[in-house]
Amino acid sequence: MRPEHWLYTIPLRLRSLFRRAQADQELDDELRDHVERKTQEYIAKGLVPEEARRQALIEMGGIEKRKEECRDVRSVRWLQDFAQDLRFGLRVLRKSPSFTAIAIATLAIGIGANGAIFAVIENVLLKPLPFPDSAQLVDLGHDVPRIGLHGRSAAFLYFTYAEQSRSFQSVGLWRENSNNLTGLAEPEHVRSLEVTSEVLPMVGVQPLLGRLFSAEDTTPGAPLTAMLTYGLWRDKFGADASMVGRGIIIDGLPRQVIGVLPRNYWFMDSKAAVVLPLQLDRNKTILGNFSYSGIARLKPGVLLAQASADCARLIPVALHSFPPFPGVSLASFERWRITPACTSLKNSLLGDIGGVLWLLMGTIGLVLLIACANVANLMLVRTQGRQQELAIRSALGAGWWQIARELLLESLVLGVAGGAAGAGLALAALRLLQFLHPANFPRLEQISMDAGSILFTFAISVLAGLLFGLIPAVRYAGGGVAAALRTAGRGTSESRQRHRARNTLVVVQVALALVLLISSGLMIRTFQALRHVNPGFVRPEELQTFDISFPRSVVTDPIAVTRMEQSIADKIAAVPGVSSVALTTDVPMASGHWLDPIDVEDGTDLKATGRVYKFVSPGLLSTMGNSLVAGRDFTWEDLYDQHRVAMLSENLARELWGTPQAALGKHVRRMSTSPWLEVIGVVGDERADGVDQPAPKAVYWPLLMDHFDPEPLYATPDISYVVRTPRAGSSEIMQEVSQAVWSVSKELPLASPQTLEDLYNKSLARTSFALVMLGIAGTMAFALGVAGLYGVISYSVAQRTREIGIRVAMGAQHSTVRRMFISEGACLAAIGIAVGSVAALGLMRLMASMLFGVKPIDPLTYAGVATALAAAAAMASYIPARRAMLVDPMVALRNE
């Protein structure tokens, strides 16, 4: 239809709807006016007024009938019926506020939880990454299982792909780093993103000011440049547009700011404040050094599998195009079996969060089902009470559809009201989620209650309304007028048939609640199992860590670096409350590892297997609370006198020599060109990748090392301090520690202060997130299920008051009456538990990947949950059953 058509008709329809009285009045005026004129005409023709009027009315054929016909052509009839039913429904709901409130609240919780989870799933899992043609973007990673390397890339592969691949439009390399930003009021430790020139254009970033990196910027030896993120530019440089072209000092080196990134810039959840160009020198590139992430854009029409095949073809080419790592033969690199791991950029960012979220969606969906069952039960009880009214209306000629429509509309109103409240709850839940900021949760800041989520929430509200409205509508709208009128009167008890619908609902509720409780029970057991794993440190809440990088402008000589590190440690040890201080390059659970092979004295074929390299100071073990399984710890003399000593983790010692004792006195070295180091100690295993991951096999090098290839004397300039103090985590201790550090050198910023407990909790983040969410779902299901059971038994007691009265009057014992109701509840609960257990046996397998130290079919959890639910069910039936005992037969019988 043409738009101009609507121009005329819509106002008319609206008028018919909302100004019905006026429209009707005008219709009346119009018709009466006509009759009036007609009458005048007849009078003029000589009829007496009465006769004239009669003729006029006859010709009109009855004013009321014509009015009805005119109204019919207004074609808003169905809408008016709807409005009438709606008004009626609202009136009925208003008349029972407590029922309405309970129903809406129940639904709001169920629908709100679903809306929130859906918003998370939609924004995190379903939406494409905010990049142009993001489906073409690939995480160009590589797996080397032999050295425990996953999804990484390296410069030699980047150059090969960039020059020879057939599948990619462009190829880039990036990594996150952290740097010292100096020249401001206080030295600042900032995170940085280092990229090759292809990366930012590949993801479609437009600079807010200035320009992006050119190929020139990433050429080795070119003037150093940097881009600022919007946040840093605003907070540290006052959003000064003239920053572009000015210089900043990063890690002691001046860099020219060439651009500012836009406010909505986002790259793979990176928290970097500055973006720096990666200057890779093709001529100095060697095999190895997998410390980057690869990114690439596929040519149009190229599939991931084709790209993988292309990479697999090029890896041997790359191995022959660059010189190997000094001392390691090309053959051993070939034995690594580097395989390409091309994944879509989105999947690589999401990782395994999808499983958790879908599981949650499923469980929260079950909670909504339980909530619907509860409301359906309430509706059944209420409709039961209105049975007589419905029967009378039906007897007076209301059609089946009319009554069903009304009941359905009533539940739809409840559903939509619940949905509206639920949308508010969902919004609050999302805010809370973003506030809590669970660790490793991808795309968190992109989550919002958008149109899709609101539509979903509305859709499930309507669906829920239909779901719980259909049951009473089908049951009661169907008439059986005579029966309804008879049963509603005096003299009969409620039929078994009416019970069945409610009992089925309760059984379903109990079964669903059991499934959810078992899933949260399994998560609790998982969590317990994880807490019992010895992570390789004790009382992490007392361990404060932070990082320091020693810029070359401050100190360069390795011995001087070590002395400075030690004197800072001594200063910190003097801070009140500090019991010990140590240094390490590898704080457990903090970040990635330095992985490289080591050479072993008796020449076993383990050369290319990557081991975690840790450089540690004396006293690290005692500070962390890790055990020394055999031998002794480093001493400061070992360091300064450059004794050729090393320590191994227990699992590595066992792998190489069978027992920790056997390892003592054996020798290891970095590579064939390095001097041998004697193993003087074996250290307890450390769960450095998180408690649910196996402990990596590690070699502990002294902080200061003689001849660490290719350096003749080596001390790392990037170090983490570990401080044991009961005051860990407070800002005061960090302030005092900072003062201690600055008393040694003013140019040393302290980075990433955190307690080991933070790290420990972060490593449990996925488990605890799932635990909390499943716990909430389980608790809601439990409460709703028990409330449902309670409702049914109380209603049963109330309905059977007269029967109880008769029984008691006939001499039934109170305990018998009580038993009758308790056994009714117990019976329902038992069936529900049985059904739920069977369902759980099947469903819990879906959770297997999230469990640790407990099987999906864990008898203890199943038995415990079933017992708890049975106990709660017994309680829920006992309370109303006790009320049954108090029934006074005289009152009960006189009652109706």
């Binding site: 005329y8 008709t9 119009e30 006509h34 010709e59």
Partner: protein
């Protein structure tokens, strides 16, 4: 005499549109005019006039407004909308083709 209900479906709409195309008028005047113009051949009962007018209004072909009539009484005056004018042209066209076709058939000479 032919009653309006015997009129070909849709013809009544066309007649009403045509009459209102001459000038805006109220329902009573419409019925008078119809009778007058058709020489009393086409008469429609008052009963079917108003539902028909309301239908045309709902279709957006005519629009109504309350005005004071020549006798000082408030009356509802209907007038044609541009949409209605197009509709009238369309229906008049159809009618022309239909009636000439019918008359050609009727005027066939019997042998």
């Amino acid at each position: 005499m032919s009653k309006p209900s015997d009129l070909v479906q849709g013809t009544l709409d066309m007649l009403l549109l045509k009459i209102l195309a001459l000038e805006p008028m109220n329902g009573f005047a419409v019925s008078q005019r119809l009778k007058q113009v058709s020489g009393d051949v086409l008469q429609m009962s008052d009963g079917s006039l108003y539902p028909a007018l309301h239908k045309l209004e709902q279709e957006g072909w005519i629009t109504a407004e309350w005005k004071t009539s020549e006798y000082g009484r408030r009356a509802k005056y209907y007038s044609l909308t541009p949409l209605g004018r197009r509709q009238l042209e369309k229906e008049a066209d159809n009618w022309g083709r239909l009636s000439s076709a019918i008359s050609r058939v009727i005027k066939l000479k019997e042998v």
